[in-house]
């Protein structure tokens, strides 16, 4: 049995241990296991395939360089995802410098059109297959602004508390709360809209 075949049966913890000693084959196995999740997270945030690919690769390189700092208090996948998110946030900040502040962006905290939206009273996701639900959520995420999408991902997918999100997004807790609120309201409307389209 070859050495690389052995890696496939090893737990992440053992692979991390070997990687810390400089074993690149063990690290490659870790990449192979988690690459889809890391790429998916980068894509969810960036909504751009090329950027997501570049950032996910950069995250792996950073992880290799900083592996010695990983103490195993969280899972390796969580640690990797956090590195990826930080890189994405940095990139989004860089991108923001290049885009003009539009009225839409300024409306993120005050609500804009979301203030006027009626409450969605029928659950538009009820009875949907998991694959279909994922597809619709992905489409809806793509229609949100960068700020709304980011706050939703950090809160709902990463399970971060308001305080932690504020730190990562470099804004106040109040801003996080209002962004999250209007992001959810818009998400509800988008999901309900998909349902209405289908019925028509």
């Amino acid at each position: 049995m070859s050495q690389s075949q052995d890696y496939t049966t090893q737990a992440d913890e053992l692979l991390v241990k070997s990687s810390k000693k400089g074993d690149m084959l063990a690290f490659e196995e870790l990449i192979s296991r988690h690459r889809d999740k890391i790429y998916a997270r980068a894509f969810s945030m960036m909504r751009n395939e090329d950027e997501a690919l570049d950032l996910s690769q950069e995250a792996w390189v950073k992880a290799w360089q900083r592996l010695i700092q990983f103490q195993g208090d969280s899972s390796f996948a969580t640690w990797m995802t956090r590195i990826t998110i930080n890189l994405c946030l940095d990139q989004l900040r860089k991108n923001k410098r290049h885009r003009a502040e539009s009225i839409e962006v300024l409306d993120e905290e005050s609500g804009g059109v979301e203030r006027q939206m009626p409450v969605v009273t029928v659950n538009p996701t009820e009875g949907l297959e998991r694959t279909e639900l994922r597809k619709r959520i992905d489409e809806a995420l793509g229609k949100l602004s960068v700020e709304h999408r980011t706050v939703l991902i950090l809160h709902e997918f990463e399970d971060l508390e308001y305080k932690e999100i504020a730190k990562r997004m470099a804004c106040s807790i109040g801003t996080v709360m209002s962004r999250l609120f209007y992001a959810r309201r818009k998400m509800a409307a988008l999901l309900a809209g998909f349902k209405r389209d289908e019925l028509q």
């Binding site: 810390k20 000693k21 690149m24 490659e28 990449i31 192979s32 690459r35 889809d36 998916a40 894509f43 969810s44 690919l53 996910s56 690769q57 950069e58 792996w60 290799w64 360089q65 900083r66 592996l67 010695i68 700092q69 990983f70 103490q71 195993g72 208090d73 969580t78 640690w79 956090r82 590195i83 930080n86 609500g111 203030r115 409450v119 969605v120 009273t121 659950n123 538009p124 996701t125 998991r130 639900l133 994922r134 597809k135 619709r136 959520i137 995420l141 939703l152 709902e156 997918f157 508390e161 308001y162 709360m177 209002s178 999250l180 609120f181 959810r184 309201r185 998400m187 509800a188 999901l191």
Partner: protein, 163 residues
Amino acid sequence: MNEENKIKLQAYLDGELSGRDEREISELLTTDHQAQLLLAELRMVKSALHGGEPELKLPETREFYWSKIQKEIERAGQGPVSQSNSWWKPVYARFAGGLAAACGVLVISFIAFNNGPTKYAAGEVEGSGDEMGVITFRSDAERMTVVYLFDREADDIVDSSAD
């Protein structure tokens, strides 16, 4: 219901309200039908997102993806082993910021004492760089200048150590 209460309603859902606010919102929910509907909507979105995180496949083969990462790792020439074999590197990394700040304070204090008061009574200057940030604060009244140096990538490091 005002906007403030709507946002508190969400914090209630997320378990982020303090005792008094939580009681207020609980009370509101027993009497306000709109609040009940809004809470149901917010809950629906939360639950949909929890079960519906998009799943994607990396659009590259394992070999090709790895070859690019491997190339970059080798180009950077930094790895976990080189760090772990040198006991002084983590110590240096931990205290480098503090040492640099102390040196900065000494140098600026030396210049300030030798050149006398500047035209600025007190001032704050922020410098920027890709990896290292600098903020200086000068107070002539206190005859003091403080220089803060910080790692812009500290978030990653915090994550790594506090995982």
